[in-house]
């Protein structure tokens, strides 16, 4: 079954159509990449899925259930987690505290949440920083924390919103490793990314959108050589015809 299905999603902001009849589906266990030039509507689509914006039109199904207009916290409890493009750590609290907030989705007891959070940190090789104040972390560490928190909610589908932005190439490679490991945990992953080498390496399939519309879909190689994609990113002169 498809874990996520989007049918003709439309999102308008006043007179601006940010997402234009977007349709796509994600199979369980897949890693789907979403790319497109800046302002193409990627984050908007994510925010519609994650319950931040109500869609203007179209339908979104998560594990067969229609989730239009669901609240973010309810979606999280159902197994849909997300990270933020501009990271939002609870800066005054420790790393462990931050992750425990996520763990509480699956339990009411503090001791259990603590255990689960420690496990997540161990999985991401982040345990040594558990008592560090979140506000003092480097950007790469904060991104890792963002993933750890989302992971602690034990999601079935994880939405990564430009989680590589601002990382050095070595850090990007590390992050790709981490995300690939997540797939082995049985988590389906939906990634927005700008850093091409990362998304090419990660994705099973890629969807490309431009001005809110899907312009290409397929394997990384197919998409990279797609004429429309090249036109969108680089302009007409670069198309080899």
């Amino acid at each position: 079954m498809n874990i996520l299905e989007i049918k003709n999603l439309v999102k308008d902001f006043g007179g601006l159509r940010a997402v234009d009849t977007l349709s796509l589906s994600i199979e369980e266990g897949e890693i789907l990449g979403l790319i497109g030039p800046n302002g193409a509507g990627k984050s908007t689509a994510f925010n519609c899925i994650a319950g931040v914006y109500p869609p203007t039109g179209g339908e979104i199904y998560f594990a067969g259930e229609k989730i239009n207009r669901s609240k973010p916290w309810n979606l999280c409890k159902k197994g849909l987690a997300r990270t933020f493009q501009i990271v939002k750590p609870f800066s005054s609290k420790s790393v462990l505290y931050n992750v425990m907030v996520g763990s509480f989705v699956t339990t009411d007891k503090t001791s259990v949440a603590k255990e689960k959070a420690l496990n997540v940190l161990r999985l991401l090789q982040f345990e040594d920083k558990k008592d560090e104040r979140a506000g003092n972390l480097t950007i790469a560490e904060r991104k890792r924390l963002e993933i750890a928190r989302a992971l602690a909610t034990e999601p079935k589908l994880l939405l990564f919103d430009e989680v590589m932005a601002g990382l050095r190439p070595a850090e990007v490679d590390e992050m790709v490793q981490i995300i690939q490991n997540l797939r082995h945990q049985g988590i389906t992953i939906f990634v927005i990314e700008h850093i091409m080498r990362a998304i090419m390496a990660l994705s099973d399939r890629i969807v490309v959108i431009h001005f809110g519309k899907k312009i290409a879909e397929g394997s990384p190689q197919e998409v990279a050589s797609d004429e429309n994609v090249i036109k969108a990113y680089l302009g007409d002169e670069y198309v080899i015809s």
Binding site: K71, W73, K88, K93, V105
Partner: protein, 341 residues
């Protein structure tokens, strides 16, 4: 001796001293001052559940004191119901009111929320001032209600001498501190902190921020109202300007802020530091330099907000830990930050 054990021992010591004080300190004046001190510490700690943990700035909390005071007083004066029961009724009424106020206001941003709570507080005061009778209930408008000191006894919440009142408010204070402690370590506490600091992130992590805040508000208003009953039974006279005043609301909020909202020790520390200043300047300078304590208050407020916005509990806790280091040696490692901040 681990640091935790030292802290526990210190707390027990303080508790023993507090309980033993009335046996040593016979003067009713001093007991009176201490009772008011504990009362303010209790009120600021109750306020802290919303103003500290939920991260908003409620400036109308004295309305709940009023609800508690009037509820138990009317029930006991007109219907002979024990003020203890009236206290619970007042608490529940305040809780419901708090949730009703919270529902529309928690959606607002900080400054608007503060204004709305002021408007609610003042609105409630104006209404009570204007009403002489609410159906069969005698409210007496601005003249207020007097409680005749008859029927001494526990059931009637009426005592000779200050000692019983001292113990009641002390127990209440310890109670609210224990409750605050357990909440801060519980799921609700984590959710409130998260929702207060980064609501969007919290929501994406499964936190229904609005609901958590409402729960906190319901609890805070309940406990605040209990103090209203205490105040009524202690002073034996309540009127709108004394129990539902803007000054009272502001005082509670700012003592908590100076001490450090969001922490457990903060509000109590704030009360411990500021109430004596207030009493002292009023007693010694009241005639010659009126309003001096408010000037001091204002200066302290400004300085603390500029230099120690998280309250004085932060530098004081550090000094305390350093002192213990000197006495007992050891790493002096701060309390693990993830428990609460």
């Amino acid at each position: 001796m681990t640091r935790q054990n030292i802290n526990r021992f210190a707390l027990i010591l303080v508790g023993v001293v507090a309980f033993g004080l009335p046996l040593v300190l016979r003067s009713p004046t001093y007991l009176h001052i201490l009772i008011l001190l504990y009362l303010y510490a209790y009120l600021t700690s109750s306020w802290n559940l919303v103003g500290g943990f939920a991260g908003v700035l409620p400036l109308g909390h004295s309305a709940f004191i009023g609800i508690g005071a009037y509820a138990s007083t009317i029930l006991s004066l007109q219907y002979g119901i024990s003020p203890w029961l009236g206290m619970i009724v007042g608490g529940i009424l305040a809780s419901i009111t708090g949730v009703l106020i919270g529902l529309p206001t928690f959606k607002m941003r900080g400054a608007y929320f503060a204004l709305a709570t002021i408007a609610f507080g003042e609105g409630i005061r104006v209404m009570v001032e204007n009403v002489d009778n609410l159906g069969p209930l005698k409210i007496n408008g601005p003249r207020g209600l007097q409680i005749p000191p008859t029927n001494i006894g526990f059931v009637n919440y009426m005592f000779n001498g200050k000692e019983p009142y001292y113990y009641i408010i002390l127990v209440m204070l310890l109670g609210i501190l224990a409750i605050t402690y357990f909440i801060s370590r519980s799921k609700l506490g984590y959710y409130l902190n998260a929702g207060g600091e980064e609501p969007e992130a919290a929501m994406a992590l499964g936190v229904n921020v609005a609901r958590a805040k409402l729960i906190a508000m319901a609890m805070s208003s309940f406990f605040t109202a209990l103090a209203g009953t205490f105040y009524a039974q202690f002073t034996l006279y309540i009127h709108p300007k004394s129990v539902i005043s803007l000054d009272f609301s502001f005082e509670i909020a700012f003592i908590a802020l100076i001490g450090g909202r969001g922490s457990i020790a903060g509000p109590v520390l704030g009360a411990l530091l500021l109430r004596p200043v207030s009493d002292f300047s009023r007693i010694y300078f009241g005639a010659t330099l009126p309003g001096l304590h408010l000037i001091i208050f204002g200066i302290v407020l400004i300085l603390v907000m500029i230099y120690q916005p998280r309250g004085l509990q932060e530098p004081l806790t550090r000094a305390y830990n350093r002192l213990l280091d000197k006495i007992f040696g050891g790493t002096g490692k701060k309390e693990i930050t993830h428990e609460y901040s």
